[in-house]
Symmetry: C2
Subunit: 255 residues, 2 copies
DNA sequence: CACTAAATGTTATAATTTTAACATTCACGC
DNA sequence: GCGTGAATGTTAAAATTATAACATTTAGTG
């Protein structure tokens, strides 16, 4: 433990507080020590900063997502979601007005939508909106309200009414749990109203879920399985969906 | 221009959307191309990502905005905005419900808000929402609608009504033009309703504009200068604001 | 089906960053 | 002042990342 060490780090953190990066050489100059000393400070002392390619950046800031490397597992998990969304893509047509649910499942779909010339996306999720906003030739309608960080989505008392006013063509719904008998559920209660409204108003309803969701029940039920026209799932999910059921299961597409 | 380039970048951006970094080698593997291709994508196409020490990071991620490659002019311009926002900060109190306007002027304010324990932010701008969503202890209300990419904001026919339902304490309004006689203007017509509604309902109204906005007129007028209680501007803006006027000018704060 | 141009891959090289080892300086008690 | 250990600086080598040049593949065209 060294008082100067801590003092230098505090100074640097202050410099970075407004965001940005500081090259190690500049950090050293700022503190009037050698680069090696800054390096040692960073490894010796606990700090909210990290060194990335010779540059100092803020990480682990209270509440701010820390800088970390995506693990291979995370990357491959993303690949699976990507394949699922490739399947969903087959259902989308030029001119559609899509309702896109919150969560991470449908995110990989969005960049694929840039192929279409005329598409409207309706969502109540911030991450979905950001992905769509980055695309050209896309009409985006975000249903606002109070922000729920856990699901990156918004909730408001008149969201259902707002959704029913829109001419939604296809509803792409995701879920946190699918139980063949009990129904389809999610974590957060504020998601129930928009999901149900989208299911009620859309002309075609797709449930997009990977295998891990089957047999799971989450706090908030929002639909029965046969409320959907199509279920898109992966190789592992399909058998679970079909077994012990055969009558009122929607069409199934496997990624 | 290359469609695949854009598609790859979109895919990577999605993978990084929830934060973190992705090593170039993993990014190349994910897209099934060579590292060189990803490098070229990044330099060829406009993107929100940047390469930092061989790792791909979201450039607009809180704390990772790379300022080192900005021109000095840009850096100083940002510094000016930052100072302006520092002044605005003095008007904000614990427990406030703030209306925050769209544009880039007020963005540097947002990261400073993390010092407060209890704050509500109301906005109709996507970039503002993203900055606030990254902060802890913050209540965020986003007014949704149809997305306008040029101003990164939303517009809807009932936005004014939605704003007037909220208990907004202080309205922080920015503008593209301030003419001492003709009034305050912005570029986009859909911004007029929310700005006016916020001005109408807020208990305190602050106009935040740097010197470059004075004497400029933009397509859409939305207020008179004396609709505001305070004008926050910089050293160069203050004299322009005061000259030839003296009666109905609001209090002026200089950054 | 050959031709062309764009896109991508490969390789070698340059530049940068990281690490390790050792030298030097500084603070402080005796 | 001297000795001691911590802190810092310096240097060289290793590892990593970036760049440039050229080879190869691919997509589109006549």
């Amino acid at each position: 433990m060294n008082g100067r060490s801590a003092q230098r780090l505090a100074k640097l953190q202050e410099a970075l507080a407004s965001g940005g990066t500081l090259h190690l050489r500049d950090a050293a100059e700022l503190c009037d020590v050698s680069e090696m000393t800054i390096r040692r400070d960073l490894t010796t002392q606990p700090t909210a900063m990290t060194l990335l390619g010779g540059r100092l950046v803020m990480a682990n800031y209270p509440g701010v997502t820390p800088i970390y490397d995506l693990t291979e597992q995370q990357a491959s998990h993303y690949q699976a979601k990507y394949r699922l969304c490739q399947r969903v893509l087959a259902f989308i047509e030029e001119g559609d007005t899509l309702f896109i649910d919150c969560g991470s499942t449908l995110i990989p779909l969005l960049s694929q939508l840039s192929h279409f010339r005329e598409l409207t996306v309706v969502t109540y999720a911030l991450n979905v909106a950001n992905a769509v906003a980055a695309l050209p030739n896309m009409r985006l309608v975000l249903l606002g309200g109070l922000f729920y960080a856990a699901s990156q989505s918004f909730g408001s008392d008149n969201m259902a009414a707002a959704i029913e006013r829109l001419g939604i063509n296809k509803a792409l719904i995701s879920a946190a749990g699918v139980d063949l008998e009990r129904g389809v559920s999610c974590f957060h209660f504020h998601e129930v109203a928009p999901k149900q409204a989208a299911i009620a108003t859309a002309m075609q309803r797709l449930l997009v879920v990977d295998a891990s969701k089957f047999g799971v029940v989450r706090p908030a039920y929002f639909a029965a399985l046969d409320d959907f026209d199509v279920v898109v799932t992966d190789e592992e999910g399909a058998p679970q969906l079909l077994e012990g059921h055969g009558r009122d299961v929607p069409a199934v597409t496997v990624a």
